[in-house]
Symmetry: C2
Subunit: 109 residues, 2 copies
Amino acid sequence: MNQNVQSSFKALADPTRRSILMHLSKQDMTVQELTDNFDMTRAAVKKHLTILENGNLIKAHRQGRDRINSLDTLGMKSVTEWLNYFDQFWDERLDSLRTAIESHTTKSN
Amino acid sequence: MNQNVQSSFKALADPTRRSILMHLSKQDMTVQELTDNFDMTRAAVKKHLTILENGNLIKAHRQGRDRINSLDTLGMKSVTEWLNYFDQFWDERLDSLRTAIESHTTKSN
DNA sequence: TTGACAAGATACTATTTGGTATCGTATTGT
DNA sequence: ACAATACGATACCAAATAGTATCTTGTCAA
């Protein structure tokens, strides 16, 4: 579970991989189609795809000789959940700050 | 701006750094206090702090001979915004999926 | 004032990482 | 049947990364 979050964050830390996700958000694509959009070999793109798959950010299935890559929501969810902890924290901080300001202004009134 | 997102994602990709953020969410801490929570040297922790600072995930100020580290919302925001693009995408996918199912069931009725 | 403590900076090392080159296998279309 | 295409896997290389050790500077307290 925690390993899960780690592999998702790792996968998102590379600009090429984030760009792959952007492409896949528009349409499912084969390895070759994705490769056409980057200045690197198919092998390099395939490595990125494996890392994205390990992070549950994409999934893939074979269709004849093609590998169809598509987005997966699982990885995105675990990352978002991790970040949510801090959103909660920001809110608390803002709340206590607001409370402090209010009590201060009421005091000075 | 895009470099901004990159440095934030990079900073979040390390488990030690995410752990540091967790600690700082509970209270602001000096470099030494943080180091006490990890099995590594102060120099290593300081390197992580620099990376977190570059990713706008923490900020720091000197207080006497101490360096007080605290959370910064900027980095978290840029990451969340990047992810929001996909949340939007998920919703659309779910909507079109629901529409497809509905139109199918009405057809078969 | 001087010893102890907190931090900054840098040189160095081992491991990870992003990339290529290249091999083999399966599938397609003529 | 067979040439072309798509993919998987692996060996290899250069650069980035996470860590240590060590030296220096600034600050506190007795």
